[in-house]
Symmetry: C2
Subunit: 486 residues, 2 copies
Amino acid sequence: MSTKPGPRLNAQNINPNVVAAQYAVRGELAVKSEEYRAKLAKGDKDLPFDQVISANIGNPQQLDQKPITFFRQVLSLMENPLLLEHKDVLTNQLGYKTDVIERAEWLLSKVGSVGAYSASAGVPAIKESIAKFIERRDGFPADPSKIYLSGGASSGVNTLLNVICAGPKTGVLVPIPQYPLYTASLAVLNATCVPYYLDEAAGWGTDLDTIRTAHAKAKEAGTDVRALVVINPGNPTGASLPEDNIRAILDFAREEKLVVLADEVYQTNVFEGRFYSFKQVLRALQSENKDGKFDHQELASLHSVSKGMVGECGHRGGFFELVGFAPEVEAEIYKFVSITLCAPVVGQCMVELMVRPPVAGEPSYELYDREYSRIFNGLRERAVALHKAFSDMEGVECGTPQGSMYLFPTIRLPARAAEAAAKEGRKADEFYCLRLLEATGICVVPGSGFGQKEGTLHFRTTFLAPGTEWVGRIVDFHKKFMDEFR
Amino acid sequence: MSTKPGPRLNAQNINPNVVAAQYAVRGELAVKSEEYRAKLAKGDKDLPFDQVISANIGNPQQLDQKPITFFRQVLSLMENPLLLEHKDVLTNQLGYKTDVIERAEWLLSKVGSVGAYSASAGVPAIKESIAKFIERRDGFPADPSKIYLSGGASSGVNTLLNVICAGPKTGVLVPIPQYPLYTASLAVLNATCVPYYLDEAAGWGTDLDTIRTAHAKAKEAGTDVRALVVINPGNPTGASLPEDNIRAILDFAREEKLVVLADEVYQTNVFEGRFYSFKQVLRALQSENKDGKFDHQELASLHSVSKGMVGECGHRGGFFELVGFAPEVEAEIYKFVSITLCAPVVGQCMVELMVRPPVAGEPSYELYDREYSRIFNGLRERAVALHKAFSDMEGVECGTPQGSMYLFPTIRLPARAAEAAAKEGRKADEFYCLRLLEATGICVVPGSGFGQKEGTLHFRTTFLAPGTEWVGRIVDFHKKFMDEFR
């Protein structure tokens, strides 16, 4: 082998699991949209649009969203603690309230320098703040020693799946459609993804019969199904699960002895009803069932600073909480995170600020509350506007916005469009999204990137971009597309 | 299986590759040292020391090292760009020079918000700054499109090994002793570590015959050896490789068609001679050998903001540069990094500042230069003091400090110490280091955590801790230990 010319590594001899992984959110369309953006930045006038709108990725601050002032003021002091030698200047001339200064001083006393590695699982004091946040949210206590800071939720998912998956025999139930991190990570780990379809007719809720069937089928095929992923609120669907749905899932997980991975990064992006955490519902089930049948249920729930009204994805902050895991497994999780040393420390501080924002009566509260509400209302308004536009479009159907940052409409395209797509070797939804990008500069993700039922087509779009002009561009494009291929 | 009581996951059924991985740098001793630190913080007076010194990990800012002012001033503005509305206050009252403000404005114009995801491989403008830095360092051009920002060098190593390793048949040559990230990552990937011993008698240099023998033996055993790791300057050894050594390694890699992974995170921590990058030496070989025999050599070189005089490990910033990789393999690397979204954006900014610090004539240069030199000189002085202490200790031998942040002395312990260790089920060096921690609060890492030749014992200590009082504590402990077990 050492005499063959050309490089040593090629697509045939490298890790086949990496080659097999698919991740459309940042795939061909995303790359193309960046090329367009670069062209426009260079003053190119040949494109039929003057702006690229990255509606393919939940990246709030790339679009309209301004960071929350309190968070960033504290972080500026974490980066340059020497500023704290000028408190009068900070407060009298730069608009820093006293609670900003107090929080920074407190965090510095706990973190030391943000330039130093923290403990592997995160800064102990930040884990305590998270535990208190979970306690306030759920009404049940939380144990700081079961909390692990991570580089966004993605790195938490990666840690958990790495520990859980023991090769191709291991099966993990994953909702379809799903955020492709799960299928991609399972592919890299050469574990088996056991898909269960969400129920589009029921607002993309989880249907227990469907899960049960998928599980039974996989078990029959010899797969050792040991974990169940739930994304709530849903990505890409936006569905927000009611409490009884979560109870049913946990009861099923208990029956079948499945570890539950609850991806709850959109927990504050809820427009309809309220958010129920898996932890809260599990604790309720545990206290209701005195026979102890829920006592050994394993749950890992994940959260992040990337979404919600925080929207600080670039800081790569997040955490997961473990419930019911064996100490020997926790030790392996600890070892795994220690190999990557620690989550970014500024991101950890951002987590602390997210879970302990200013409260009523504190100097920064009023501004914080105003900024937070403006972001929340803006998201809801744009979701509603986008939804309205979709309901007026031929062949497009979309449930009402419930949560997260996305809409995931069904599209029915003419047969000739499918034929034209096939000629280019593309799926019909990919073809549609590519045309949309080329015509309007708006980048969305084809439903095939998340998985969808055979014979259905969708796309996922965020509702983060400011204004509604771009929504009009989608409507116009769609009309022309339908006319062209009718 | 679903009727057995207890949790679903246990050490027997989870990922055996994770279970098999070892990572001593943050292992038992590190955990114990953190417990002592917590005890002391609570006012405990029972311990025989009043301070824990974490000499187990290269974490400069946890110890003496102050961050460089220019870096942190710019980052404070990246976190809170609203401060730029008060430039007069910044410059007249807070000591921000104009180049700080200009750099922050430039970075903000390129990055947008540090709270937004960047492009998967990093902010394009930061990749351009890195390319220019490499060009200045090496005297050969660098291509920004071959540069990938990563969360510290660790995440870069993880990406590269994930792509390179295709199961147990894949072999990667790793120096022993080595920073255990390599063996741990190979264990997690279930690939084969092919160890080659460094030559302690030659200042821990690489001996080509040893590498050749290790390679041939592995090949004979059916292993597909496809990559060679070099850590230069060395960790834990501190060795800094001369140019001819690097030439010989590259020539061997070419002959045997091995991808070279050059871990160069300590490139500015060099006390003896100068640093030669693998990229520079490869480019020189390529231009000298007109027959093109080096043209297909694949090299990935890694760098980080964690070490050097920067010491900003908590920011998790780093990058790797690819040379000679096939485009189809680069595409897989891109996909892999895109699954984890992007490196922390503040960390990326820190990389930019590291590769483009103030230069002579710029307003912040004088202070930067003074801070940088003070850190460099402080490290060298402490290395020399520690080395001197070791040379006075019975049974301890240690080469002169050449580079990195570590000394890695050999220790010869009395047979009775080995027996006492065995009784506790420990390796003798582990036993020694545990006793050192218990007696002095100084945490170092046993040589077995990095690998060492059968029958030899070592430990790794950083020389980051301030002062020399703690060095005296090691000397005293060692004397008592030897007396006890003689």
